[in-house]
Symmetry: C2
Subunit: 280 residues, 2 copies
Amino acid sequence: MRIGNLTIVGVGLIGGSIGLAAKRRGLAERVIGVGRQMRTLENARDLGAIDEGSLDVPDAVRAAELAVFCTPVDQIVGQVLAAAPGCAAGTLLTDAGSTKAVIVRSLEGRLPDGVAFVGSHPLAGSEKRGSEHAAEDLFEGRLTIVTRTPQTGPEALDRTMAFWRSLGAQVRVMDPEAHDQTLAVTSHLPHLVAAALAGLLPAELQSLTATGFRDTTRVAAGDPALWTAIFAQNRGAVLAALDRLEDRLERFRAALRADDQKGLHDLLSEAKRVRDALGS
Amino acid sequence: MRIGNLTIVGVGLIGGSIGLAAKRRGLAERVIGVGRQMRTLENARDLGAIDEGSLDVPDAVRAAELAVFCTPVDQIVGQVLAAAPGCAAGTLLTDAGSTKAVIVRSLEGRLPDGVAFVGSHPLAGSEKRGSEHAAEDLFEGRLTIVTRTPQTGPEALDRTMAFWRSLGAQVRVMDPEAHDQTLAVTSHLPHLVAAALAGLLPAELQSLTATGFRDTTRVAAGDPALWTAIFAQNRGAVLAALDRLEDRLERFRAALRADDQKGLHDLLSEAKRVRDALGS
């Protein structure tokens, strides 16, 4: 794959990493980054993540063959709707949002002829923010989910998959709702649990934590506004995932109450098998 | 501090690290490691963690000026009671167990005159096991909790504190029950939650996890038998900590159900403040 102008809306950890990877891998001739502050864009340019900066989303997207929206999930739909009317036929729009159903379904049937939006979610990133944490290998060997619905054009889907593969990612196709149900379990629930755990730690016990507490709560350092938007867009699936957690916590509680050591051992062994399978 | 013979019962990650640190820092003239298998002890000797190995706890402890029990929490009391009658007056016994009340209270009043047991818990370690993961700097700058009760002799307490400080640790004195209530929140609850989360992940979703899930569940790779014993010895405090978690999960649930984004943002912001204060 080879792109003339690639526009990245939102040049943070993910957007910056896309820019770095696209430039180092020769995917795009020119990378345009869009942000709200010139200083951020200048930093991204100095890091080699973009070639030029713009403060105007529709303007920067109009110049693109492919544009990827790496902004908070509650901003993507509005930005795409604002930018799409100015796009030439054949422009491909995608995103990197952590939720998919609200975004993809909100855009279906609302874009000009010849302009396609295909939802994407690279399973990469961290609790850190900003292009200063971007890495050209962020997507290498990692999975990116690309969404398909009955309205997704096959060529747009193929190009979206080729885009992420060109950045080093492995790609899996899912429908938006299946994505959101899956991520509720694999990402949103862990975030909620980490935040619940961090939130209950009294200040006087902070010095009495060790690596276990720090690992288990690490993602709770993520940006509250970004995560509020993610939870708000995936409330139903997160609530269902939370029910599954509560069931399992109840099994631990029952085993503890009954001093059922075999029951505890079974629960811990099952967890260890799963965790060992995930690798470090 | 300078010890003639230091005996380490259980030469795994913690015991091996004590041996490495004691030898590299010149704390002990000779380090005797006790295990159940000669092969494990030979490995520990090859790594420089011990000078000689023994399969006999009372025999190896009898030779020691100071012995530290780094075995699972449900084995420590029995091993100490078996070893103490053979010890010379002035011998100091301590441990590295993750629970303290059952161990310390079970031993009070049951040791020969002149033989002291003081409970210890270095807040170091990981989900890994075995002396091959031992590190001479494991305790450096980390906290070790040393327990004091009305029956703890001041000199034995001082020597125990000096021992851990000689290994590079910072020391805090707590009573055994306060230790257990604290660790229920800072260590045992995170382990339980990580295991609950890992345990609910269906096999088909394993490939759809990313660093967030892996960080949050990392400790669930710990040894189920070790952790069953820890939970069994600290059931009451862990159940109380679990109640606090449930309260907080309920606040998330209520905010999700009501689509209360301000409420979610407040909960996530509070968690981020705590997590940021803990450092990476």
